[in-house]
């Protein structure tokens, strides 16, 4: 059994990593921010940011949630100067959380070279304290685990997703908060999800949010379905959905949250990632890392990523565990994969054993073990324009 420990934060949560986040507040500051991180190599200095120049309440909320995520110990904000992002408000929120924070405005600091030099020296000044910080005991009931599937094929729903579902059932029973997402990949599963909802009011919210996803994707003229899904023998959206749905396990559904909402207690939560209101700004999730970023904004310490075709991504801020459903993919990309769930198809191991392996690995990663994507230096992050209404009271039934 793994003894979990974490870095205590002022809001009561605990982190399993102690990262310096370097956040660009507009694409024009991206290069400078990235240059600041370069000399730190594989030390925990991660690049995050938002590219747009126009303000967006959702993007502000997500970036603030990421910068005050329990895995983050200090934050450097990098602004060009003339963009609309409310950098002062973001810096105040980070400072109020007790984290060291500095804001560098490129137009005021004298340009690229001067800002990069100042940024590097600030990071170098805070990093040693984060690296030597004491960890304190942490319970499984303080852990938030997110799951996503990407590069799905016909094996995802046979092996990787149901194995993650078994791990989710056990983690949720042990008190962890477990979040699954992508309502566009639950199209066709709404009746089953409604039956698992702990109240009828929550069931109605879940059905409505899947219907919203269907409307949105209809307007886009394209479901959450990529070319590789069909090459991987998935034929329809609802077939892909039924495979993706298996990640949620078999336990009761305790709530429906939106990006930036942190689950109030343990249990199983559905994250609604499709924007509210009229269809604008394009696809709900342009790529898997957009959803991973949202799972992290909801407090996820670890992400369990099921793949069939073979995604290689990781993420900034929270480690990503890759569960490969397809034995042929595993044979080609073993170096990128943490779990070979496809072995179930050759009969050498059963699904329950893979579920246990994922459960054990989740706790080991939470205790500090590096995932393959962390080891390979994957730190993807993407944040785009969206808008959401707050969730209603029926979405989080009181228990």
């Amino acid at each position: 059994m793994t003894d979990l420990t974490g870095y205590p934060r002022s809001d009561g949560r605990k982190g399993i990593r102690n990262v310096v986040a370097v956040a660009y507040l507009v694409e024009c500051a991206h290069h400078v921010a990235r240059e600041i991180t370069v000399p730190f190599g594989d030390r925990a200095v991660h690049l995050v940011g938002f590219p747009g120049c126009y303000p967006n309440a959702y993007a502000h909320r997500i970036l603030e949630a990421v910068c005050t995520h329990p895995n983050v110990g200090a934050v450097l904000l990098v602004s060009l100067g003339c963009e609309s992002f409310a950098r002062g408000r973001l810096a105040q929120a980070i400072a109020a959380s007790g984290r060291p924070v500095e804001t560098l405005v490129i137009q005021e600091r004298g340009g690229t070279r001067a800002t990069v030099a100042e940024g590097r020296s600030w990071v170098a000044s805070v990093l040693p304290a984060l690296e030597s910080a004491e960890r304190v005991p942490m319970g499984i009931d303080e852990l938030v685990v997110g799951t996503i599937c990407g590069g799905s094929d016909a094996t995802s729903g046979l092996t990787a997703n149901p194995a993650i579902g078994l791990a989710f059932d056990r983690l949720a029973a042990e008190g962890a908060a477990c979040i699954f997402e992508e309502t566009g990949e639950l199209i066709g599963c709404e009746a089953m999800l409604a039956r698992r909802s702990v109240t009828r009011e929550l069931a109605a919210e879940v059905v409505a949010c899947v219907e919203k996803a269907r409307r949105w994707y209809d307007a886009m003229g394209h479901g959450s379905f990529a070319s590789g899904n069909a090459e991987g023998e998935l034929t329809t959206q609802e077939e892909k959905s039924l495979g993706a749905y298996a990640k949620s396990g078999s336990g009761p559904l305790h709530g429906l949250i939106k990006p930036g909402d942190v689950p109030p207690r343990g249990g199983l939560y559905l994250l609604d990632v499709v924007p509210d209101g009229e269809v604008k700004w394009g696809f709900p999730n342009i790529v898997d890392n957009a959803e991973i970023g949202e799972l992290i904004a909801c407090g996820s310490h670890v992400i369990l990523f099921a793949t069939g075709r073979g995604s290689v991504v990781g993420s900034a801020i929270s480690p990503v565990v890759k569960v490969c459903g397809n034995p042929e993919t595993y044979a080609r990309l073993a170096d990128d994969m943490d779990v070979n769930a496809g072995a179930v198809l050759s009969g050498t191991v059963d699904l329950a054993a893979v579920g246990e392996q994922i459960h054990r690995l989740t706790l080991e990663v939470a205790a500090g073990a590096k995932t393959r994507s962390e080891d390979l230096g994957h730190r993807e992050f993407i944040l785009t324009y969206k808008s959401f209404e707050p969730i209603g009271p029926a979405c989080l039934p009181v228990r």
Partner: protein
């Protein structure tokens, strides 16, 4: 005997190849047996009884779309004969679907490029 095709749920009318299979392979699955008519990839869906155009394909015990053509016992089911009941499937190389006609009240763009 090594399992070649898996019926995930007893209500399923298709089985799933759990490894690549060659044409001529004798398959026993879901209370039926057939000789494979073609090579198939890992994950391929194969009809466990003769299916008619307009029938639902059932996998995981749930409908996954409607057939656009008849499929014989053991026949291969994929994008050439199965359509979503929700959203159109798009694959690389295929043309993007034509834009939906404007709904009532929607404004047409002021400028339309000449053909």
């Amino acid at each position: 005997m090594k399992l070649d095709v898996l019926q995930i749920h007893p209500d399923d009318n298709v089985g799933v190849a759990v490894r690549p299979l060659r044409a001529g392979t004798r398959v026993a699955c879901g209370g039926t047996a057939f000789d494979l008519a073609q090579d198939v990839r890992l994950g391929a869906k194969l009809a466990l009884r003769p299916l008619r155009a307009g029938e639902c394909v059932v996998k995981y015990g749930e409908p996954i779309g409607t057939l656009t053509a008849d499929v014989p016992l053991g026949g291969y089911v994929h994008t050439h004969n199965l359509e979503s009941d929700y959203l159109r499937t798009w694959a690389r190389g295929e043309l993007l679907p034509a834009p939906a006609p404007p709904t009532a009240g929607a404004r047409r763009p002021a400028y339309r490029p000449p053909r």
